[in-house]
Every structure is written in structure tokens, then in C-alpha cells.
Amino acid sequence: MTLIAPPAADAPGMPRRRPGLRLLRVLGQGPLFTAAVVLLAALVLVAALAPVLSPYDPEALDLASSLVGTTGDHLLGTDQSGRDILSRLMHGARTGLLGPLVVVGVSTVLGTVIGMVAAWRGGWVDAVLSRSMDLVFAVPGLLLAIMLVSVAGPGMTAPVVAMAVAYTPYAGRLVRGLARQEKARPYIESYRVQGWSGRAICLRHLLPNIAPTIFAQSAMNFGYALMDLAALSFLGFGVQPPTADWGAMINEGQSAIQQGAMLPALAPSVCIVLAVVAFGIVGEGLADRIAKRER
């Protein structure tokens, strides 16, 4: 009920951001952002074309050339079983990306539905949904995955399902917060006064306006999910040998370190770090762009 003169018109270009965030924001802009996007695009391409691009069968054992260093034949060398590391990395990118894709896809859709319903309905519906999310939130994702694996047996499915469940409250809380904020905006209220149904307003107006922020968060979550799934594989709960997977490769490569061969463990580690950082930069950069547009 106050009189608020629009400040933007009278004070153009006034710096308004908190300085503490600036460093983080700058990282998400410019060449670094572009580099991250290019890296991720290349990763997707390699994963898609792995059967064509990879020089060797990733699972072909060749004990004669065990732990060969970088040579013309094996650009990144071989592991203890003589499998070509580059080929294994390329194929590993497939499980490496597919797992997080399912995790983030499922958790984002679930979280968005739960978050929007909670925000829109409010009252007891909100209370029930929010407390349920808190409950899931309190269980560590890795623990959930390990419990599920112990019931369902090893393989990709159990960890991915567990992670999807574990990530849902993250997306749900974010969406609930965004939707509550948006719901209170006069433009949403004016749709209510016009007589639109809650579902129509949510799907046609509320969701599209918060979708960019959800998407940016999903990009960041993608990186985290990739890391969590790799950790599970590393611990032996995820992808089972001999299937190529970055996390499992690090595990297998551990013993080679004692024999002086760093590459079998190092190469997949670098891949994980690069992918996670790239997803982080892209997510942060997208969030920044959205914030800029909304100013």
C-alpha cells in the first residue's frame, strides 16, 4: 500500500548487486561460460558417437599390453587388463551422462509438480508436502542408494532411482519457493481475478516464468548427480565391471597407482572434475543471465 516510485528509471546503471556474489557471477560469464558449454557439447557428442569414435572395444581384454603408457596405439594408455583407457572413457561418458540425466529429469519433474502444488494450494497440502520433502531431505542420498542396492542388487537402476528420490526435495524446495513468490505477484493474482483455473494459471503463466531458474538449477544438479553416481560406482554399488564407467574406472585404477601408473585412475578423475565444474559454470551462468534479464 506504499507509494513506490520505480527506482530503475531514475537511477540507471546504479550497481545493485551484493559485492560478495560478484566474483561468483563473473565466473559464470564470458569465455569461461562459452568454454564450459563447448566442453559439455563435446562430451555429449563423444558419448553419443562412442561406438564409432572409440579406437578399441572398451571391454576387450589384452593382458599382453597391460598398463602400457601413452603410445601412438593407446593415446591414454591401457589399464591393468590391457583395455584402452580412451575407449573406456568415451564409453564411460555414456553411463556418466545417462545416469544423471535420468536423475535430474525425474527429480526435476517430480519436484516441480510437488513444489507447485504445495505453493499453489498452501495450507495443509503445503504442510504435508513440505514435511515429506524434509523427511527425504534428511536421509543422505548415498545412504539411500546403498540401502536400495542392498535390496535390489547392484547395477545402475537402484542408484539412479535412489538419487532421483534424493534430489527431488532440492528441486521441490526451490520450485515451492519460486512459485510462492510468483503467486503473490499481481500478474498472477490478476489471472485469478479474471477467472482462470489454478491449473491453467500454473501451467501457462507461473511455470514458464519460473522455468528458466529451475533449468539453471537443474544444470548444476546434473553435475552433482554425476559426481554422486560416480562415487557409488567407485564404491562398487553402481555400474558393475566390466562395463566402462568413470567411477568404477577410478576404483579399478587404484591398484595401478602402486605400480606407478597414474593414468588409469587419473584420466577418469579429470573427466569427472571437468564435467562437474562445467555443469556448475553453465548453471551459474544461466542463473546470472536470468537475474540480469529480470532486473
Binding site: M1, P186, Y187, R192, G195, S197
Partner: protein, 270 residues
Amino acid sequence: MTGTERGLVVQGLCKRYGDHAAVDGVSFTLAPGSSLAVVGESGSGKTTTVRMLVGLERPDGGSVRLDGRDRSARPRNRAERLARAREIQMVFQDPYLSLDPRVPVGACVEEVLRLHTRLDAAARRTRVADLLSRVGLGEREAAALPRRLSGGQRQRVAIARALAVEPRVLVLDEAVAALDVSIQAQILDLLATIRREAGIGYLFVTHDLAVVRHIAEQVMVLKAGRVVETGPVDRVLDTPEHPYTRLLLDSVPRRGWDPALVAHSRRAPA
């Protein structure tokens, strides 16, 4: 409570938030085509009152009727919800927040027609152009996103959108408060013209008594959720009966104004 009165009849409207009574037994009548100013300071319950009329808040007590039809209970179905929306529309305070940032303003008016009428696409386009030109906007503005428009232009869009359903009553919640004075006068002018031509009743919520003089015939002064004074604008502004109305009037800055006097009388219990 015969249920056959014409116009908007509000009786004993109440809204509580926890222990706090935001609106406490507000009653008034708005005759068809007339204009009632709802005046008060923040916390007076003026905005909560009108939000209950348009269904944005659910009243805890009291009744709201338009031409005898009750609208205080939750609408039972889609048809009833739409019928109510066609009766009372609302223009919000902040033109920077009251339009969907993703929807061009022409489409924003058109979607209301799509929801409420059976016009075909061509007829809708003509009607959108009509509505926009009535508020002084042309084709170029119709194609623009809200952020390309000034505050005054956006408020015109909000008015056109509200008029699209040909409501009986238009609620204007501080609708000119966020605008520059020169633009505010344009919008007041436009609102006066529309009321003259369309015979829509206005509920004009404002904190600005000077505006009241020029937009309304009746005024209702609210304080802490209750009506303290109500009557014709000229009578209330020229010879206020309630001390609080007098205090509000004395608070309006003008030449030769003595704010210290106001400060003094505010401290004296009203």
C-alpha cells in the same frame, strides 16, 4: 437482506489473520455506475476488503452481493467462477508487476476474451484493438512486451484488460499511486471518461485524499479494519465528523500547512 438490491452490497465483512482482525465488520453499498473511494492508511484493511470482493481472499464473515447474487462463498464450479469474474474486475497498484512479463500486451487482453467470450479469432482481434484504442494505445503497443512500455502505458493495458469482460464493478487498488503526477492525471482522466461512457461502478482504494475529491462521489474512511466515517465526498472532505477523518485531512500537505499541528493532534487520543 432481501437479495434483490441493485449494485454491490457488502454487509459485515470480516477477515482475521490469527488474533488480528484485518477487516472488522465493514458494510457499504455501491450503486450501479457510481464511484466509492475507500480511504485509509496502511493496516486500515482497505486492500484486504477489496481483495475479498474479487475472491483473492476468503472472508471469515459477512456477505457480498452483486445485484442480489451472493459471492462470498467459494464458487461451486467453473461457470460460477467465470460469471463472478465478469462482474467485478480489478486494476492493481504496480503496473510493473501486474502484467505477465512473457505475454505481449495485445495477447494479454485477447486471452481474457478467449476465456470469457465465444468470439472467433478475427472478432477477438477487432475487439482487442477496440479496447486498446479506448485506453489510448495503438497497434505498436499491442505487439510489445510489457517491459517495452512505460508505467502509464502498462496501467492503460491493465485497465483495457479489466474492461474486456465488461464488468459491472471495477476495483482500482491504488491504481494511480505508483505513477508520476502528469501521468496520474492522464489515467484519472481516462477513468472518468470510461465511467461516463460505460456506466461501470468504481471502488477506488487510495491513501490520497486529494485524488478522492476528483474521482469519487462517495467516500468511506477505514481505520484498523473498521469504517469510521462514510458519506458524500464533498460533505466528508469539507465537514468531516470523525476526528480521524479530520486528522487525515490535516495531514495532506498544501501551502501554508502546519505539520506540527498534525503531529500534535495525532498524539492526542482520537
